[in-house]
């Protein structure tokens, strides 16, 4: 999936839930992102973190690990049960998600997917509503093809903050590129704070896991130093 590098973003200040932010509400074109709500004429914050601005958009960034599902996001989930015609999937949200048996490429009533409890899957959030259980699908709705969704074989799962997953996906952090110059590995990044990773040997998988885990707190030059010090 192609992602363009984000335009220049600047941290404005530290905010706490309930703080009022003084932005000129009358100026047209200001976009409020996650963590900000408008109540009448004033804008207040609902999350603790940094107030960040990029162009006309303002939002609050923090180290949140708790996932709130949104439609069209890609997530890594673990099958936790089987219902009547669906799987129950744990994606880290407040309620477990539903993955219908028919939500796969070339699925028919006779042709069931072969997933077991404990398996890891990469899926797309089809329906996310605060009053209902979220629903997943393992195909791209525009062309009905699997396109990488489905069961993830082997490998390891890293649990991290939601912000780190965003940074990995948009390549704001160079760690994947730097690590890829040293050894071969693959990752499936879920927006729910879970990253699936795999490599050719167990030693390499454990290495990638530990490097990605440490790199969450490092900037790009520190990532470069970390990769340079690796003994593969």
């Amino acid at each position: 999936m192609k992602h363009s590098k984000p335009t220049e973003r600047t941290k404005v200040k530290v905010v706490l839930p309930g703080d009022t932010v003084s932005l000129d509400v009358t100026t047209p074109g200001i976009i409020l992102g996650p963590g900000l709500i408008q109540a009448g004429d004033s804008i207040s914050c609902t999350k603790a973190g940094f107030l960040v601005r990029s162009g006309p958009t303002y939002w609050v960034e923090n180290d949140q690990k708790r996932y709130i599902p949104e439609t069209s996001e890609h997530v890594v989930g673990r099958i936790s049960g089987k219902g009547g015609e669906f799987y129950r999937v744990d994606i880290g949200s407040a309620h477990q998600a539903i993955l219908p048996f028919l939500a796969f490429e070339n699925a028919t009533k006779k042709n069931r997917p072969n997933l077991n409890i404990g398996d890891l899957i990469y899926a797309r959030v089809a329906l996310a509503n605060k009053d209902m259980d979220p629903e997943l699908q393992c195909y791209n709705p525009t062309n009905n093809k699997a396109e990488g969704f489905g069961k993830l074989e082997g490998g390891m799962v890293l649990k991290c903050s939601l912000r780190y997953c965003q940074r990995l996906l948009t390549q704001e952090t160079d760690i994947c590129k730097l690590l890829g110059q040293v050894l071969q590995f693959e990752v499936s990044i879920g927006m729910n704070g879970r990253v699936w990773l795999s490599s050719d040997t167990i030693k390499h998988i454990s290495l990638v896991y530990n490097v990605l885990k440490q790199a969450e707190a490092l900037n790009n030059s520190e990532c470069k130093a970390l990769v340079n010090n690796l003994v593969v």
């Binding site: 673990r78 936790s80 744990d90 477990q96 398996d119 074989e153 390891m156 799962v157 167990i202 530990n210």
Partner: protein, 289 residues
């Protein structure tokens, strides 16, 4: 166990295949402890232990109380290890879980029942007054092996603790405030330290100091507590898969060497704390002048 904490099949298979090749997920050897950091002070009897990402805080306090009627010449030592939802997601506070009972029993066996602390020296006036020592252990973060971390925290806190000095002349008992007379350390007979082993598959695969993920897929475990006189104070094997005799002996020998390493860390921490205390006293003397 909360559903959220259950591991996927991929993770379970990876950890077991890794162990078969002698590789652990965090790069340790199968007989390596995680990095251990012990911080004592600033108050006497406060110990914070970080074993990898497992964090435990122990606090020792004392008060004067009446000794138990069946033990008129002894003081009282109480260990309190309550698990809280801070470290254990999904725990219901108020109801002791199986894990909580196990932690509490192991620590009591190692420290209290084995008489690590001299409770007779805590008696002030027989039948009337004695010191009652409370050790409160708080679990701040759980990444596996809370028992070893809790034991290190409790023992180091007890070794660091100072109680007020007492003078008994005939019937008169004077408890000196800490600013008038230097407080006195507890008399510790021996220092038992626990080492936990986790077993996998059919008992052929084992590790020392299991992390949380390793604890979740283990099929059996064994806890051995050894003191500074190389005596085994506790050997606990509660359920789990059966073990061969030679495995138990091999683990005991390994535990003895691990305990030496941990004891050195505790001594270093106590020495550091003493240094800081000395520098603080010197500074106070200079300022007073």
């Amino acid at each position: 166990m909360v559903k959220e904490l259950e591991l996927s099949t991929n993770e379970k298979e990876l950890i077991i295949s890794g162990l078969k090749e002698g590789i652990r997920l965090d790069g340790r050897g199968i007989d390596d402890f995680r990095s251990l950091k012990i911080t004592l002070g600033p108050e006497y009897g406060r110990s914070e232990v970080k074993l990898g990402d497992t964090k435990v805080l122990a606090k020792v306090s004392c008060e004067v109380a009446r000794p138990y009627p069946d033990r008129p010449n002894e003081g009282i030592l109480t260990l309190n290890t309550e698990l809280s939802p801070m470290a254990f997601a999904g725990l219901e506070p108020g109801r002791p879980s199986e894990e909580e009972v196990l932690v509490s029993r192991i620590l009591e066996k190692a420290i209290k029942i084995n008489r690590a602390v001299d409770v007779e020296g805590l008696c002030i006036v027989a039948n009337e007054l004695a010191w009652s020592i409370h050790v409160d252990v708080h679990f701040l973060d759980n990444d596996g092996n809370i028992i070893d971390a809790a034991c290190i925290a409790a023992i180091s806190a007890l070794s660091h603790f100072r109680r007020p000095d007492v003078t008994v002349i005939g019937e008169d008992v004077t408890i000196h405030p800490v600013d008038q007379r230097n407080p006195v350390p507890l008399s510790i007979h021996h220092t038992p330290i626990c080492v936990t082993f986790a077993f996998f598959e059919n008992g052929d695969l084992w590790v020392v100091d299991p992390s949380l993920k390793e604890e979740q897929i283990r099929r059996g475990d064994m806890i051995i507590a050894i003191n500074n006189h190389k005596e085994i104070c506790v050997l606990s094997k509660a359920g789990g898969l059966p073990l061969e005799m030679h495995t138990i002996i091999q683990c005991s020998k390994l535990a003895a060497s691990k305990v030496d390493w941990v004891r050195e860390k505790i001594q270093d921490a106590i020495a550091n704390a003493a240094e800081v205390e000395k520098r603080k006293t010197l500074r106070e003397i200079i300022i007073d002048d």
